[in-house]
Amino acid sequence: MTTTEITDDGIVSDPDTAALAIEDLELSYVVRGTPRAVLRGVTFEVRPGEAYGLVGESGCGKSTTAYAALRYLPSNGQIDGGRVTSSGQELTSMSAKELREFRARQASMVFQDPVQAVNPVLKIGRQVAEAFEVMGQSKSEAKKSALAALHRVRIASPESVMDRYPYQLSGGMLQRVVIAMALACDPKLLVLDEPTTGLDATVEAEVLDLVRDLRSELNSAILLIAHNLGVIRTMCDRVGVMYAGRVVEEGTVEEVFDNPSHPYTVGLLNSIPRQGLRKTDRELFAIPGNLPQIGEPLPTCVYVDRCPIANDTCRTEVPPIVDRSEGHWTRCHFPDRLDEIPEPEEVSEVVAVGSEEVVGVHGVSKTFRQRGHDIPALVSVDLGFAEGETLGLVGESGSGKSTLAKTMLGVYEADEGGEITLRGRPMAGKATKRVEESIRSLQMVFQNPDSALNRAWTVRRILTRSITRLTGMKGDEADKRAVEVAEAMRLSPRHLDMRPRQLSGGLKQRVAIARAFAGDPNVVVCDEPTSALDVSVQAAILNLLASLQRDDRTSYLFISHDISVVRYLADRIAVMYVGRIMELGSTEQIFEGPNHPYTEALLSAVPSVDGQAENRIPLTGEIPSPANPPSGCVFHTRCHRFIEGLCEVTEPEMHELSPGHTIKCHLTVEQLSQPVEITEKDRMADVAEPLE
């Protein structure tokens, strides 16, 4: 490929001093003998002490850029052109030995999954100390340094953590350990590749806080890769928006997010529900089309095929770099025509939620038995679904959300005493014992379509099998229905004969939704249906769910960790903790407060694209195991409004704050409305309990 790149002097100011300068980097992966271009002239710099973020959809080359920054390449990767320099040293021409030295002393990387980044058979102390021994410290010095390093990453009892094995620590704690190791050499450059993607929102907030705090103590520059725009907004000074292996817009986070100047950035920002947007307000903006595939030849402007304002100039001329303001530039011909981008559709008809309960969950508990111990995973849960209503369900992982979903759907059988009703009539516990009508009326959309769709089956078979099981239709009749359902999901008939792996993530999720809607269900449980998808695809899926609800009056149990998504779609929200509903209220009530202290902490943890959340309430420690729930109120061990002598003794009753808004807490409305003070000590993470 010939270089058609315009390298502007303004982008890389001084490669000799920058913590990282990437100039015109071209990189490809060799797949089945053919090299396929991934990075096609990436240019940006990270200045000393600066935090620089890279955003973009999956497949745009963000992670490849991160790896290339330290010249970590998979065996089939090759650099075709360009330079990578760090503090004046050119990485692209380093020998293996120099490179090892560089990675040991000047740069560090933190990966997405902390579990894979640590050695499972070595104690934490050994691993952290090793990082210091590499630096030439003696064993005893290294041990001392390791203790200090763990303390530095806000681990309250480093001595006890040193003696533990990785499997004994939670994900958030492990990521702290990994960060401690990465900081051992006091790097000039720290690369973080999606460091919080696998973590809960509360833990994510903690890790981000930590990195932010550490920045002021260290003099390292940070390159942060994240697909979550909120994370970038709260963490970075400057941001580069990547598309198809190129940076298309760059500037300070405020400039880029508040005043986007590239159609792609505008599309990304419009596709996420912001500023409390609700499904009744307007649809979300979904970027049409797909990212160009790796290795495909690119058009003159990389975004032209998906751009709503593209014209002939865009197809014939490479867009120049247009400066918008100091340090903010875009690679677009018409940055001044961005207001011509059509607004997402207003939602014209608002369908009111019905009053009658369609599906009810009454006093449902679920106790698992494991090695002779009872594990109460659900404790007397009460929920009702009115026609056309979305009930949002939030809570950390391990709070019992999925158990509730699976119990409702009959994968698990609820304990004696509780019942799940369909229009007032109780249904059998196990799915195999339920009548067709009950199975049909309750369906589920899973988090990960790759896992939820049988990859050996065609889409047609996936749909017709469900139709046959749920409605009794057979042969041609079922096939006709499959085409209808697929059409309602905006899938085209030719997708029917494909297998899941031939479809993109968004299309796969549409197939999964089509399967759930095959038999005209009353309630569809959506278990994180968009968390595996890119934001632009997420927007399309959320739009689809909202429109299906308007047309079919279907109710949803919408489980998600993304509070802004829940806020967009839900009419009511339930908050779950250790198998219990802690708070239940309408979306307005939940967001206006006052809230249960747990909800309060959850809400404060969300990194927002619209700027920094004020006064975050830390949720340190781990969610207690349902096998051994705390006495009294289950939340008292982590509560910032804990009242001694009351909360650990008596379990609070569910009581009403206002009509339709109930919480399980001893405190009164007045007490809950008082702001709390957060001390430094509250923010230290500690291991839950001593080793057994």
Binding site: Y29, V31, R32, G33, T34, G59, L73, P74, S75, N76, G77, A286, P288, G289, N290, L291, P292, Q293, I294, E296, R306, K406, L409, V411, A431, T432, R434, I439, Q443, M444, F446, Q447, N448, S451, A452, N454, A456, W457, R469, L470, R490, L491, S492, R494, H495, D497, M498, R499, R501, Q502, L503, S504, G506, L507, K508, R510, S536, A540, I541, N543
Partner: protein
């Protein structure tokens, strides 16, 4: 670091094929991609030297087994013009054995028993192992516990001892030998398929099937089985190499066949190896090389296929 495959999902973007029904989240993927991938994999396979050599070797032995008279003019029990224990010469390319038969001819005819027994034994083992593995992996519980213990017990008995026990109990007829080898392979195959079935059972499509109220038989045979066939094929080719080796070992130990005049590589090695001390190495070394070449040929093919599939 492992190779990175940027082609998942296979969604090439074709601006001319933006179907209006799906333009919202794009995805106008082409059915051709899958074919394209297959084609590229095939091209890679056909170009790889390992595959070509493997096919040539195995092809030669298959030809010998099917049509031996094409490759040699003598019969396996025919005495040739050279005296016994003559070294490789123009009359007998690979020399003659202790009684004056042509070693080359014996090797050509000897391909047949091994090429009957090894694939049959492997096929039987694969069918049994896949069935057991799927049942154990999906149902778990006490069925799994009991079968797992039995499998561990079988695995703990040395292969040769096991073979001797079976052959002395049931005789050395060919069906017994085939079943013996099959039984020896079942535990390893079962284990592989079982762990794959466990992984599949944890996927949501199985949960989804349970939510539809599907029966266990349906889930195992229609939902899970098609997803482990790739693994079954890999197991099949890997075990085939082992089966060749195992059969030759049993033959060497005299545990197969009663009629020593029938050509068989393993038997020929065991009949003639004592003569090596008298410098008559050809009647035993050449059949041994035949065994080795078949094992290597099968493994070359297996490895190349595996590599192409993973690229």
């Amino acid at each position: 670091m492992t190779a990175f495959d940027p082609e998942a999902p296979e969604t090439p973007h074709d601006p001319l094929d933006l179907h209006p029904a799906s333009d919202e989240d794009g995805g106008a993927p082409q059915a051709a991609t899958r074919k394209q991938v297959r084609k590229e994999q095939r091209m890679m396979l056909f170009k790889s030297p390992g595959f070509i050599i493997g096919v040539l070797i195995v092809g030669f032995w298959v030809l010998s087994a099917v049509w031996p008279s094409l490759l040699t003019t003598y019969g396996p029990d025919e005495f040739v013009d050279a005296p016994p224990r003559t070294g490789p010469s123009s009359e007998a390319w690979l020399g003659t054995d202790g009684v004056g038969r042509d070693v080359y001819t014996r090797i050509i005819y000897g391909a047949r028993p091994i090429l009957i027994v090894a694939p049959l034994a492997t096929a039987i083992a694969i069918v049994m192992g896949t069935f057991l593995g799927l049942v154990m992996g999906y149902y778990r519980g006490w069925v799994d516990e009991i079968l797992s213990r039995i499998i561990e017990a079988i695995l703990s008995i040395p292969v040769i001892l096991m073979a001797i026990l079976v052959v002395f109990t049931f005789g050395r007829s060919r069906p017994v030998v085939i079943f013996t080898i099959a039984i020896l392979f079942v535990p390893a195959i079962t284990r592989t398929i079982r762990s794959a079935a466990i992984a599949e059972s944890e996927l949501d499509y199985v949960t989804s099937a349970k939510m539809r109220g599907e029966s266990g038989v349906f889930i195992v045979s229609r939902e899970i089985l098609p997803n482990v066939t790739g693994l079954v094929v890999v197991e099949l080719t890997v075990r085939l190499g082992y089966a060749v080796f195992t059969y030759a070992t049993l033959a060497f130990l005299g545990l197969v066949g009663t009629n020593i005049t029938t050509a068989d590589w393993g038997i020929d090695v065991s009949q003639n190896y004592e003569q090596i001390v008298r410098d008559v190495w050809w009647p035993s070394i050449f059949p041994a090389m035949a065994i080795a070449s078949l094992v290597i040929g099968v493994n070359l093919i297996t490895d190349s296929i595996d590599k192409a599939l993973k690229s």
